[in-house]
Amino acid sequence: MTSIDFSIEVDVPAQTNVDFYNSLLQNQPVHVLDVRNPDAFQRGTIEGKSNLTVQNLPYYDFVEDADAAVAQVSSDRDIVVVCAKAQSSQFVAGILQERGYRVSYLEGGMPSWGNFYDVRPLLEAPFGQIIQVARPARGDVSFVLVSDGQAAVIDPLRHLAYYRDAVAQANANITLILDTHAHADHISGGPALAAETDAPYYLHPYDAIHPMDMLPAQMPYQALTDGQRFQLGQLTIETIWFPGHTLGQVNFLVTAPDQSTYLFTGDGLFLESFGRPDLGGKGETWTPVLYQSLFQRLPAMINDQTWILPSHISHLDEGDGEGRFFAPYGQVRRNNAAMQHGTREDFITFVLNNLPVFPPQYIEIKRVNLGLFIPDEEKASELEIGKTSVP
């Protein structure tokens, strides 16, 4: 029989999302103890680098028999306890601390971690800035470009304060909002940002029709065309149609005055993989289109020095290893799994044989992004639950 007194309040240190994220990026040896039920754990937990270990041990095992549960904690390293809110992790952390473990708990729990944003500069030059706005737990990445007081936002996520703050800090105004495609894995912040800034929101018209419902978008947008150019201060932004992941997927090629180039690929090309071509329900017909984009359109538009900046990552080691998720094309070309399958047949077989599970909520998320369904905050965060390993 357990003899633990549940009323004891132990003072366990809390870990903020910022500190926790930095410890993951620095690959510190951390043991995450996820005390949610196994179903919640299966839907997604904390992911990090090689030195991170994760263990699922539900808090109710500690309620049932604290000593037996503690005996199952398979690490003597620094432990971070996480749960659905924070009270259960505090409870478990208290039990561990009483027994001499070095332990803290993640402030706010998994929902707060899922909504944690990391903002950091990728480039600061006389002609302008590129700021990365990432949501690491979900693998989503977006960007703010600034030049001469004007700002463009590429693939904004739905928590707009981060963009407002980044742009204000750069003493700029948002004049342009671009989505590389209609997203299925997360809710776009584009239309809402356009509504509050009066900046135009752009999307390719092929993506303004829901591929499953065959219904046209209900929110205001400007139609992008292949080759369309924008001038943002000293930066030129060229739109390049890049179908495959979606039919209306585009890349934005940014050229700076020093002739350096930056390709914002959305979900067309990632650093180590590519955007799955089956989310419209037509993988067999869209995969050859993706092949053409990757192997014929892409090499013609860039060189090995062009920086590739995708809107999604699958793990924290990508990019420079320090949380800046970009790399020169020459490196991407050598390391990317998809790029190793250069013939059409080989590529198609590789892609179609490796399609992951189709998350059912993706259909609904795309409805939201096309203005066909307007969720409240609770529904929005429910749709965005867990990590999108393959957007």
């Binding site: 539900p58 109710y60 309620v63 009270q87």
Partner: protein, 83 residues
């Protein structure tokens, strides 16, 4: 509801882990074979009680239901002490 019960534990307003912690304590005071009805407002309790009952000593989860009470969802769990 068809499930009959012997005692009721009201944990409305209590947040995780307290509904389960209090239920564990209450179960210890039950006679073998008796049924405890737990009324919670914490939505997470539904999945957590299911998981807990799989591994817990002498606890069988007979039934769960969602009941509207004054416009609020409550989650009702019926637990039997088995030994």
């Amino acid at each position: 509801m068809a499930t009959t019960f012997d005692h009721t534990l009201d944990v409305k307003g209590a947040k995780c882990p307290m509904p389960l912690v209090k239920s564990r304590k209450a179960m210890n005071d039950l006679a073998i074979g008796e049924v405890l009805r737990v009324v919670a407002t914490d939505r997470g309790s539904v999945a957590d009680f299911q998981g807990w009952a799989k591994t817990a000593r002498n606890v069988e989860l007979l039934e769960q239901e969602t009941v509207q009470e004054n416009g609020q969802d409550t989650y009702v769990h019926y637990l039997r002490r088995t030994s």
